[in-house]
Amino acid sequence: MHPSNALNYDYTVARYFMFSTILFGIVGMAIGTLIAFQMAYPDLNYLAGEYGTFSRLRPLHTSGVIFGFMLSGIWATWYYIGQRVLKVSMAESKFLMVVGKLHFWLYMLLMVIAVITLFAGVSTSKEYAELEWPLDILVVLVWVLWGVSIFGLIGIRREKTLYISLWYYIATFLGIAMLYLFNNMAVPTYFVTGLGNWWHSISMYAGTNDALVQWWYGHNAVAFVFTVGIIAQIYYFLPKESGQPIFSYKLSLFSFWGLMFVYLWAGGHHLIYSTVPDWMQTMGSVFSVVLILPSWGSAINILLTMKGEWEQLRESPLIKFMILASTFYMFSTLEGPILSIKSVNALAHFTDWIPGHVHDGTLGWVGFMTMAALYHMTPRVFKRELYSKSLMEMQFWIQTTGIVLYFASMWIAGITQGMMWRAADEYGNLLYTFIDTVDAIIPYYWIRAVGGLLYLVGFFMFTYNIYKSIVAGKTLEKEPANASPMAA
């Protein structure tokens, strides 16, 4: 191919996934905000009978955000980045095009059934793996299709060397495939006995073993969806947006392989002071602390990419989103290891500090990066200028305020709970009943709910901005080289 003869990348599938990212973002975050308010004001549980209780909605919120919003985001960016760093258009392969579309539509089908079944209370109760076995099989199918897409596109590539982002996409694919398969092993009871519901199953593992496998999965789904999949995005979009090369190739290498090598151990920190053997708890704890190195390696590498170009932070809200995302990544990957230290864990485990920790990672790091990715892609996919820079600015500050309210209130709530649970009087008797500890943190639940609401409002502003860009933005003649074009 002649260099002047630019490839026409085909963004059909990327566009589909951009829409589903926004759709599930709204659904997942709206449910999240609702359940946050339910904890502060329990009467909200009765909006829809049994289908509106906190407990039914909670798995919908987590699955909606993780597997709806974040995975859609990862796939939208894959169908965009994949072609560009491999220098091959999806339009060149009918097969990969069909795979891509099938990937999307099967995924939509899966999500619709997942929402219905979770509403109905069909659940295996394993966190982030609540779906029953027929849906698990559908998940595997969707996942395999994505794998075919990755390796298919790699198979017909023109660029010989795999760009860093691709390492991370491949790792996301392999990691989740392994974790999901093993954690969801179950025996459908109908096929053994011919009685009862055909969709019902029991876990292959019992008790402590089940817990081990579940948290090996549960924590590392975080690793390979929330972390690895998002690093794939920032390693592509930040250099593109800022026009700066990645700071250090060696640091990229170190942090990638370091992350792969260490992360899988960290699941053990969910089981500190549980009934799993002590050495496992200790390993989980120690490796979680070691994990600071590769995590900060990536984050520092990303931040130093802006070396000498920090004024861009003032000029471009998009850069701001990405830099704040990396900062929250550093924050969250320092907080995690602190929570894994046994004595801290003894206090913090089972408290609201944990959702607080999860949310500074997900809202700050994952949410901001995913939105930044969509902002970057929109002018290139739809050939339109971004609609409003000032709206982006406003969104940025509203959401940042939301996150700060969220984690600050949950820290205080969590530490308060932990301290009250263990508080004893001079004779060694417990000072508080359990309900005392609930009453004490209601104000923080309000603050958290307001924080969540601000973030949701920001997400609506984001949706509006993207929508207006697509329908009313100025047409772009040719693709912008770096720094997204924006109307004032």
Binding site: P59, I170, V192, H200, D210, S274
Partner: protein, 221 residues
């Protein structure tokens, strides 16, 4: 070495897989057999208890209530004896939970009556005035799925060698025998309950979800 991998996607993928898979092998596998051993005093769940456990799972009670007492004085004072691995040998899946919005339930069978649970599920604030738990009134209307619970128990007996029908263990028998067993067990609980509709339904031969759930909660000791 690394630039070689970056040009060979196949070997790259293999390398990534090896590097991520080893931790599972070392961390998860070694104590598998050990962890699966039940306590001598532990018996498999009865069919009614399993049906209740399924209600507990369907309503995601584990999102707010843990079933794992950690070995601290504050926890053993509050909830009872700390948890040991052998207690959970028949738990498929485990229900430790990860967050305590409500108290731990691992020993709730020791200190709550059927009556208390009934009120708590129907109107939580009637027994704990500032409770933020949702009411689960529909458990008083919906009929427990005994057949699926039996299928669960039979599957764990057939596939995982759970010692149902063994000397001194929980009796399972045929589906008809199990149904009679369930009925007798439910009768004892309905006896202690106040709700007239649940009682009337039981007379008609229907076992409501709340009855099964209470059977399960009472088994947590």
């Amino acid at each position: 070495m690394f630039s070689f991998l970056e040009k060979n996607p196949f070997f790259f993928a293999v390398a990534v897989f090896v590097v991520i898979a080893y931790a599972g092998v070392i961390e998860v596998l070694p104590d598998f057999a050990n962890n699966a051993r039940p306590l001598d005093s532990k018996k498999p769940y009865s069919v009614l208890q399993l049906a209740g456990r399924q209600v507990y799972i369907n309503e995601s009670c584990n999102a707010c209530h843990s079933q794992l007492i950690r070995p601290f004085k504050s926890e053993t004072d509050r909830y009872g004896m700390y948890s040991v691995s052998g207690e959970f040998a028949y738990d498929r899946p485990f229900l430790w939970g990860s967050k305590r919005t409500g108290p731990d339930l691992a020993r709730v069978g020791d200190y709550r009556t059927a009556d208390w649970h009934e009120n708590h599920m129907f109107e939580p604030t009637s027994v704990v005035p500032t409770s933020i738990m949702p009411a689960y009134k529909h458990m008083f209307k919906k009929t427990a799925d005994i057949e699926t619970a039996y299928a669960s128990a039979l599957t764990s007996k057939k596939v995982f060698n759970v010692p149902y029908d063994k000397e001194g263990q929980t009796k399972l028998g045929t589906y008809e025998e199990a149904q009679a067993e369930v009925k007798a067990e439910a009768a004892a609980i309905v006896e202690q309950m106040k709700d007239p509709e649940v009682k009337a339904a039981f007379e008609r031969g229907e076992i409501k979800e709340i009855v099964a759930l209470i059977a399960y909660l009472n088994s947590l000791k």
